[in-house]
């Protein structure tokens, strides 16, 4: 089919129609843009009025949006075919990180390959793993059989183990979750789910045994933040103080004493929601939660509309993973979950996070049954 311009037919330009026709979901795109802009506004305050940081983050958002638009044009079949390759590459890179990775504070997370910008292979794995599990499970009838589940579990455990070894507990949990969601959506039987939960509970003491000291401290702090108020409890106490002192309406934009006087740690990255809570109050956070809710709701709709089982499983997993980010981050900042390094999606400062999130949304859009400019697909 020819485009409107090529056919010479004059049609008034309507963004919604345009986006619909060419695969960019208009509602989701708008919400992502709004949320990112909200993030930039908050970042300006949280970074201590650093225009440089806002500019950098803005550039990352822009890059992410472009990649999202680009990816939304890729044909579904191409993505399905490439999945095993990408997964294997990501796996190799993860091994490479353990061998020659660089990093700070005792964690090796980055790969510094000549000729490439420094990056974290675990980010690639965030999308490669659920895609791979979806690829594997949809090759067979659903719900999956035990033998297939076992192989899916192996696919999941190897990269998660490699990332946990960096150590990067937050990311490994998120990636494990994204793989698990695929299996869950593919129809994992409730019996196995129950057994897994029971096994998980039983394994807790073992997990406690292999945890690092600082990780244990974080868990203990959650139970009693006042046990070490200047050490492990500091972050949680200061974040809760910031949120609580914000009240309903907040102290005003860029007026939060906890954030501006630097009592709040990591105020522009992992704990940025405390800045929102302190300066914009309960209403500010609710506004953010509404935006997240709309994004997740739209994504769930897109999941059910997606083309093919692979597409649906992948979309569902990406959506739920996105939600896990939101939930874990807010839970950690508000003191109901232990402190793990999980950024607030689309808001926290950090280029890798926002780009990989938007790439994920691009993949979701690619799974939709629409026209594509690049692929020339005309279904």
């Amino acid at each position: 089919m020819l485009t409107a311009a090529e056919t010479g037919q004059f049609e008034s330009f309507r963004p919604k129609r345009f986006a619909q026709r060419y695969g960019l979901d208009p509602f989701l795109s708008l919400m992502l843009l709004l949320t990112s802009c909200f993030g930039l506004v908050v970042l300006y305050s949280a970074s201590g009025q650093s225009e440089y940081m806002v500019f950098r983050q803005g550039m990352h958002v822009l890059v992410g949006l472009c990649l999202m638009a680009l990816l939304s044009q890729v044909r579904r079949e191409v993505i399905v075919q490439l999945t095993p390759v990408v997964f294997l590459v990501a796996l190799v890179l993860l091994v490479a990180v353990l061998l020659f990775g660089v990093g700070a504070k005792g964690a090796q997370r980055w790969l510094d390959l000549p000729g490439l910008p420094r990056f974290q292979p675990s980010e690639l794995m965030k999308l490669a793993l659920p895609a791979m599990v979806a690829w594997w499970l949809t090759r067979h009838p659903l719900p999956p059989r035990y033998s297939h589940l076992l192989i899916a579990a192996v696919m999941l455990v190897i990269p998660v183990g490699l990332i946990a070894k960096q150590p990067d507990l937050g990311t490994s949990i998120i990636i494990a979750g994204s793989g698990f969601f695929v299996i869950f959506l593919a129809g994992l039987s409730w019996r196995i789910l129950g057994l897994l939960c029971a096994a998980g509970l039983a394994a807790l003491p073992v997990l406690w045994g292999v945890m690092h000291d600082y990780q244990r401290a974080r868990v203990l702090t959650l139970l009693d933040p006042q046990s070490d108020p200047l050490g492990a409890g500091w972050n949680t106490i200061q974040a809760m103080t910031a949120l609580g002192s914000g009240g309903l309406l907040g102290k005003g934009y860029a007026e939060g004493t906890q954030a501006q006087l630097k009592f709040l740690p990591e105020s522009h990255t992992d704990f940025i929601v405390a800045v929102i809570g302190e300066e914009l109050g309960f209403l500010g956070i609710c506004l953010l939660l509404v935006m997240y809710g709309l994004i997740i709701g739209r994504c769930l709709l897109l999941t059910s509309r997606a083309e093919g089982h692979f597409g649906r499983l992948l979309c569902g997993s990406i959506t739920l993973t996105f939600f896990v980010y939101v939930f874990v981050n807010l839970g950690m900042v508000s003191g109901v979950l232990p402190v793990v390094g999980v950024p607030l999606p689309l808001i926290s400062y950090g280029g890798t996070s926002v780009v990989s999130l938007l790439v994920g949304f691009g993949l979701m859009m690619a799974m939709q049954r629409t026209n594509r400019v690049l692929s020339g697909d005309s279904s």
Partner: protein
Amino acid sequence: MELRTGIRERQLIGQRVAIAGFGVAILLSLLVVRLSWLQLVEHERFVTASEANRLQTLPVPPARGQILDRNGVVLAENTPRLQLSVIPEESDDLTQLVAEVQARIPLSDDEVRAFEASLKARRRPREPVVIRDELTDEEAARLAVDAFLFPELRLQASPRRYYPYGGLTAHSLGYVGRLALEELKDIDERRYAGTQMIGKLGIERAYEEALLGQVGIERVETSARGQIMRTVDRQDPVPGDDIPVYLDIGLQAKLYDILGDRRGAIVALDPATGGLLALVSAPSFDANVFTGGVSSRLYRALQNDRDTPLFNRALRGQYPPGSTIKPMMGLVGLHYGAVTWQTRINDRGFYQLPGIEHKYRDWKRWGHGQVDMDKAVIESCDTYFYEMAVRLGIDELSAGMAPFGFGRRQGPDVIGDVAGILPSREWKRKDRREAWYLGETVIAGIGQGYWVTTPLQLATATNVMARRGSFVEPHFAVREDLEQGVRVNLGTSNDWERMIDAMEAVMHSESGTARASGQKISYRIAGKTGTAQVVAIAQDAEYDEDAIDERFRDHALFVGFAPADAPSMVLAIIVENGGSGGSTGGPIAREIFDYWILDRNEGATPPDLEFVEDVNTRVIARTYADGG
């Protein structure tokens, strides 16, 4: 079949997605519940916590009062300085920190050592420890650039106590020093919040209470790293009172100038008030080395100096008063009827107790011949006073001398002086657990034996002579209420006048022991010389000044006042190993009286500050020469 399976599978996924959506909704509401609990229910509690985080109450130290001399010349003031210190509790690695500081400003080995030493010393919790006492503007700027890297460092303006004439005033003003932990129990710690210095000696210590002032309070907003962002409110401190003192810095300089390299002490009193016009102990030191944390090397050099510049001879030096007490002793003898003005004795050059071989020698080997009281004072006849003391007895001797202030500490605002010893039967029993011997009474008659006095005591006692029988405590600070004095009930006013006439004759008559210093003069001096033995001379041995080591030579003493009939200054002079009082003390006294009465019109003419500074420079040169 294939299609049906597809539909079933699609339904399965749809079902699961719905379940997941349901889970998402539940978890999101849980978050909202948690947030509303934090932000709405517990709001007040967290507001309090965040205010406590933000606001800090800081003490604002008051400016210490100044010390002014009688003409209003500033003797102690506060000068601005920038100090670099660290709160050790906030630093993880102090060695690393010192290295970082050293990378930016030069630190001498001495400063690093001093810093390490003060780290080890006991101090108040969270008390800053000084790294560099005084920064130049350039150094401060270089540190300020990187200040955010080292929040534990404190770069603060902390006024420094400065003594413009530190060498001249060290022994009278004393100095301030770092507040030591042991001193905390004696003070109200809240008043010293933010103040690191406390008066350690002298006037600085005596008037600590008034000089200190009242601490102010400042509430500031601080960042998590302790940096002060802004002041929220402030209650200003009340500066300490200025303390005017009787000291005359011009006179003080003159005295140091006259003493030169000699060791000794001079005390000058205002007879009317007992005010200390000058208090000199030579050699001296620069008091300013103590206000900024003295380097250990300099301190050791000062301590080990054989001439003991840190030792306050005027207040703590204990010297036998020797013949200087003879006029007072004479009044005591007259009062208790041991002698009359007419009593004569025959001096053959020595005195012997009945039935005892030992000869108590007169300073004049062949004796003074026929001696009455006037001649005994004028020529300082020892034999007369040996005899008189024996007739008087030790009990009445010490009872009669006590009202002059001997044997006890002086003055309410004199810090650190010693009591000396006025010998008595009682004292010896208590202190030495021994009985009193008659022979000891004999030598007490000429101010020798157990009897030791400080130069300040000698001046105070001589002031009783100048005031014709009225005792006043010596004091530094100017007092509004004029001192009435305590009557010393010894003899009649005629006795006092006649004794003062004898003291004048010491200076101005042909036989006076200080006649050389009393010639060609437009006013009259009443004086008395004295010579204090440093080593005992063997029986029948001759004291030969040239033959013995300088350090074993006699101390030269002089006391006196002028003008004799209406005194404006009382002097007590001790020159260590200076030889005889007449030949050394007399000329010094004459020069001082000339300066005070003729050049300065009794202190009314303002001092020549250029001269003062010049003398001060000479006096403190020694401090740094030793330390360097």
